[in-house]
């Protein structure tokens, strides 16, 4: 047992890490049972912490980026793990759906891309756009039109992308995939889009109606809402900059106000969340979307029309 006075006298040295390991252990043990010394120790240690701060030198501006990147590389942020896992899940599900295909299944007609092989070629082409943005090697599609070989090439590309994004900066700017106007967004958004498109095409190839997990529906809706103002400005300048609200109910639903935080909106559109994501994928025409409109009907119509142009088809 060490006397209180001995420990108390040692606290300055302890606060500066200036005593032996044995002494430090004795101090710690005493602090656990002596509130007075514990308070004193906190006070001295705080003062010690400030001691070297007698001259201010801001860190170089570029250091922030490299510190945050180094941290992410050691321990991927939770939100990023969620997004990469969501994409990986969609890749695995589509791969499983393709695995069981007969030669006849591969040639099943598709209204947009000819047949299932065309759908997969289109999907792989859009994946390759993001891979190229990230500087990852492109995996070429076999020219033979052999279904299983196409599946292997698409899968290799997707796996390369998953490996490549694991350590990438989720906030870095990339172009989204798609024909024509390719908005510049964060890699985070691009990955939501890849998961979304993979999910959409799994439906196209006739897999049992795939139900996306609610969080994914929510992310897809959020991305669509984020892309809408610029798309509206491009297609329908008369409606650009107007304030509106989207209220999606059901699994993955939520409420979005554009511009964010606008106190008053000109129209509120209500719809089912999954239905809305189908609309954004251009898999259902605006006329068939059950929805409610409170406010300016013309604005609502323009928003829903432009929403169908957000996907990659």
């Amino acid at each position: 047992m060490v006397a209180h006075a001995d420990i108390s006298g040692m606290l300055g040295a302890w606060a500066l890490d200036g005593c032996s390991d044995t002494e430090a252990a004795a101090v710690r043990a005493h602090l656990a049972e002596c509130p007075d010394c514990a308070a004193q120790a906190r006070r001295l240690r705080s003062a010690a912490g400030w001691l070297g701060m007698d001259r201010v030198q801001p860190a170089p501006a570029g250091l922030r980026r490299s510190v945050l990147a180094a941290a992410r590389a050691r321990r991927p942020p939770a939100a990023w793990v969620t997004l990469t896992n969501a994409y990986a899940d969609q890749v695995a599900l589509l791969d499983a759906a393709l695995a069981g295909m007969s030669p006849a299944d591969w040639r099943r007609a598709d209204s947009r891309h000819g047949d299932v092989r065309g759908v997969l070629g289109h999907l792989a082409g859009n994946d390759a756009l993001l891979a190229a943005e990230l500087g990852l090697p492109a995996v070429p599609m076999p020219a033979t039109g052999d279904g299983p070989a196409m599946r292997a090439a698409w899968r290799a590309q997707a796996d390369a992308m998953l490996a490549g994004v694991a350590e990438a900066d989720p906030a870095r700017a990339v172009r989204l995939a798609g024909a024509g106007r390719r908005p510049v967004r964060t890699l985070r958004d691009a990955l939501v889009q890849r998961a979304f498109e993979t999910w959409t095409h799994r439906d196209d190839i006739g897999a049992t109606r795939p139900v996306a997990p609610p969080e994914q529906v929510h992310r897809i809706a959020g991305l669509a809402v984020a892309l809408l103002p610029a798309a509206l400005r491009a297609s329908d300048p008369a409606h650009a900059g107007r304030a509106w609200r989207l209220v999606l109910h059901g699994s993955g639903g939520g409420e979005w106000t554009v511009p964010a935080g606008a106190a008053r909106v000109e129209v509120t559109i209500g719809a089912d969340a999954v239905d809305f994501t189908r609309l954004a994928a251009n898999r259902r025409p605006p006329g068939t979307l059950p929805h409610t409109v409170t406010g300016d009907h013309a604005l609502a119509e323009a928003i829903l029309r432009v929403a169908t142009t957000l996907g990659c088809d």
Binding site: M10, D17, C19, L51, M53, R64, S66, A78
Partner: protein, 187 residues
Amino acid sequence: MPGDRADDVRLRERLLAGDDDALAEAYDRWSTLVYSLAMRVTADHAAAEDVTQDVFVHLWQHPDRYDPDRGALRSWLCLLARSRALDWLRRRRAQDRCHTAAAAIAPTPAEVDDGILCQTEAKVIREAVASLPDGQREAVLLAYYRGRTYREVAQDLGIPEGTAKWRLRAALSRLADSLADEDILER
């Protein structure tokens, strides 16, 4: 005020949950402090950058090592920065026995940039350190910048070990009072 205990607890929880925005906030709030400390000990830009990176990566990887009951997160980061900077200094000395002290031990005149955070704190600390009795100042600066133990401080200054311990405690206590007077530390 940012940096109070409830704030530290919340930030720690977010870090534990893997929220990288919380790390960015911590960096924005304390990187000047951490980098300044590291520069002051190492007097080497590259080393100070490495130390700053180590400190924040450590916080991100091991937020559980910080115990809010034992003090402010800011203090924890300061002490971590100093300890990493001293490690660098020791490695450097081991490589180069003739290496002369990189950092000046006496408080140096400030090279102040206007409009920078921590400027007030730096001034208070300079004045508080300058106003310490010579014996206390020598002891505390040896311990702080050179990482000397109280026994080594006693040897360096040719004083009894008990006196060295007492000087370290008295110096930090006076410093704490000065910082509390300026509302930099709680009383």
